[in-house]
Amino acid sequence: MEKNVLSKYDEMLFTPGHRACPGCGASIAVRAILAATGPDVIVVSPTGCVETFTAQYPYSPWGVPWLHVLFENAAAVASGVEAALKKRGLADKVKVIIIGGDGGTHDIGLGALSGMMERGHNVTYICYDNEAYMNTGVQRSSATPLGASTMTSPAGLKSWGKEQPKKNLPAIMLAHSIPYVATASIAFPKDLTRKVKQALSIQGPKYIEVHSPCPIGWGFEAAQTIAIAKLAVQTGLVPLYEAYQDQPLKVRKLSKRVPVTEYLRPQKRFRHLFTGQDDQAHLALIQAIADDNIARYGLGE
């Protein structure tokens, strides 16, 4: 981690001893998020990895109040928490955030999420995006990228993995005319913490998507989580930006451009693209997404 990211609250708001897998990107995201929120926060999580590895009765690593209801309703639950805080006169003091995975956010929880955004609740929704249903054993979600092999989008003789590109949920969130949308990566925790603080300083609904690699689901060494996350950003596949309704997009420029193959090759979920001869045709499709991102978001120097 970069220096000075962890606050005085670290290991108090989210203690060691939880059950995340070695190298878990999501757990790194949680620490960086809570460093930004401090203790005056209520965290809502949908069912998913974070819920599973942090909340097995009677244990809990949470040093902040935390609420899990179901898989597809975190945004609705948080709406209710926010409403109750208003009635208790605590709306200014206590922040409400959601920490949920991509399955609970992009897929099954999207209706409730859209409802919360449209109604304008003062809630920050943070999605730790590990690009598949990892908790249930690596099945594709709509956040799974093009070409990734998962248990339900397996590569095979007639398949090269997931045939659809990743759902652009930040753009869908922006279309709700909410005041702040940001993307972040656990490879840049200082940037993530700053964006969470920025979101919390703004009234209304906010959305932050945090790219959070999963060693088990993606198939790489647990020690490589940050390196993989950094490569994803450097290729342009994961553009980091902040979007306000009334300002030009603020992007994190790429200091150097890395071809997508450098990011894809170390991951088992893409190994079918590199067996025998490299699958140039499909790799080109993925490179095109990175190139398009770089042009569209202005990521180049």
């Binding site: 209520i42 909340a55 609420l67 209801v69 409403a83 409802g115 109604r119």
Partner: protein
């Protein structure tokens, strides 16, 4: 005793007024017929400043119930209403509310479940929630619906109970009907129903987790505690009904209500708005020297097995009028009544009848027909094996195996 004010109003307005008097902090709802008028009236009350509540117009019934899960876990009083598909869409959350012991109060404005789609009142929607770990109370008229909503918060929020309570009232027949209703002053309702004091709630001052996972070591204990709480609610429902009587002068039964049962040879058992019709029919038949009586099941969960045994064991035949069916078995209330009687010293025969099912009218002639069938069973000494569907138009049914 509180005097109250008698006026004629729509059932939904009476519910909205009762809920307003209970001062919920958060209301969340989604439109579905026939509960919609209730949430419209409440929206207007909030808009007029007559009710100081956060009113959240949800994107679905599922979200409405979820919003209340969040609000209730944050320590405030909550309310919603729904019907039919809406209640089914809420089901997953309702199980959670019970398991997490969050005392949300619901109105279940009864309506048939699709398919076929329709608006008719039956009990298939709310009775399919009977195993969710919640309390279900069925009311017979608008006054009882008004009274029971006020009682519901008191039962739900009791620290020995802490469970969701659903007040079930037949759609249209009770939600849209205009009846004289005695409403009470805010001060009197406040005296009866103090503010909600949660034991556990989300606050940074004392961080807690809600909604942890459990394994084989702990899961059964959580369910057992939920079960015990529903059972404990039996005494509480009766006590609160009596307390309400002292405060407001109304008593319409706690767990059950009985009518002309003492010497009855035939006892009708039913729930909901049909009770009013059955009371009238019993009066008429009694004038004709037919020894018929009536039991209203007011609390469906917890199920008042002991109270029922005491009320109906002496009868020759018990005729259960069911508005909900367990397909492939029988009427759901009939099953429960039979189960309760199995442990009785003296066991009457039970005639299971689908009556009022799918909104099919139950009138005096229908009751005469039901009582006639019960008397026939009494004479024969046995009841038919198959559930009878009262008013079934057999001539419209296709012949199975005809082709």
């Amino acid at each position: 005793m509180a005097h109250g004010k008698l006026s004629v109003m729509e059932g939904s307005m009476a519910i909205a007024q009762a809920v307003r008097m209970c001062r919920p902090a958060v209301i969340s709802a989604y439109p579905i017929t026939p509960q919609t008028h209730i949430i419209e009236f409440l929206a207007q009350m909030v808009a007029n400043g007559e009710l100081d509540a956060e009113y959240i117009r949800a994107d679905s019934e599922f979200s409405a119930a979820s919003i209340l899960a969040g609000a209730s876990a944050t320590g405030v009083r909550t309310y919603t209403a729904s019907s039919s598909q809406g209640l089914l869409l809420m089901t997953e959350v309702i199980y959670y509310l019970a398991g997490t012991r969050l005392p949300v109060v619901f109105t279940g404005a009864n309506r048939q479940v699709t398919a076929p789609i329709g608006l008719q009142p039956d009990h298939q929607d709310t009775m399919s929630l009977r195993d969710a770990g919640i309390i279900e109370l069925y009311v017979e008229d608008v006054q009882e619906a008004y009274d029971t909503h006020i009682q519901a918060f008191k039962i739900a929020e009791d620290h020995d109970i802490l469970l969701p309570v659903m007040v079930c009232m037949d759609g249209f027949v009770l939600t849209h009907v205009y009846e004289p209703v005695k409403t009470f002053d805010q001060a009197d309702v406040d005296a009866f129903l103090p503010p909600y004091e949660p034991i556990h709630y989300l606050t940074p001052e004392k961080p807690m987790v809600f909604g942890s996972g459990t394994d084989d070591v702990n899961t059964m204990e959580f369910h057992y505690m939920n079960h015990q709480a529903v059972l404990r609610a039996g005494d509480k429902i009766e006590a609160v009904a009596r307390e309400f009587e002292s405060a407001f002068g109304h008593y319409r039964g706690g767990l059950i209500d009985t009518y002309a049962t003492e010497d009855a040879e035939v006892i009708l058992v039913a729930m909901g708005s049909v009770i009013g019709t059955l009371r009238e029919a019993v009066d008429v038949l009694r004038c004709e020297d037919v020894k018929v009586g009536l039991v209203k099941v007011r609390s469906y969960r917890p199920f008042p097995a002991e109270a029922l045994r005491q009320a109906i064991s002496h009868a020759g035949v018990v005729a259960v009028l069911d508005r909900a069916l367990s397909f492939g078995y029988q009427g759901i209330l009939a099953t429960d009544v039979k189960t309760a009687l199995y442990d009785a010293q003296q066991r009457p025969q039970v005639l299971g009848l689908m009556a009022g099912y799918g909104g099919r009218e139950v009138n005096l002639d229908t009751v005469r027909e039901i009582v006639k069938r019960a008397q026939r069973a009494l004479d024969m000494g046995h009841v038919p094996q198959e559930t009878e569907f009262i008013g079934l138009k057999t001539e419209t049914l296709p012949q199975v195996g005809a082709r």
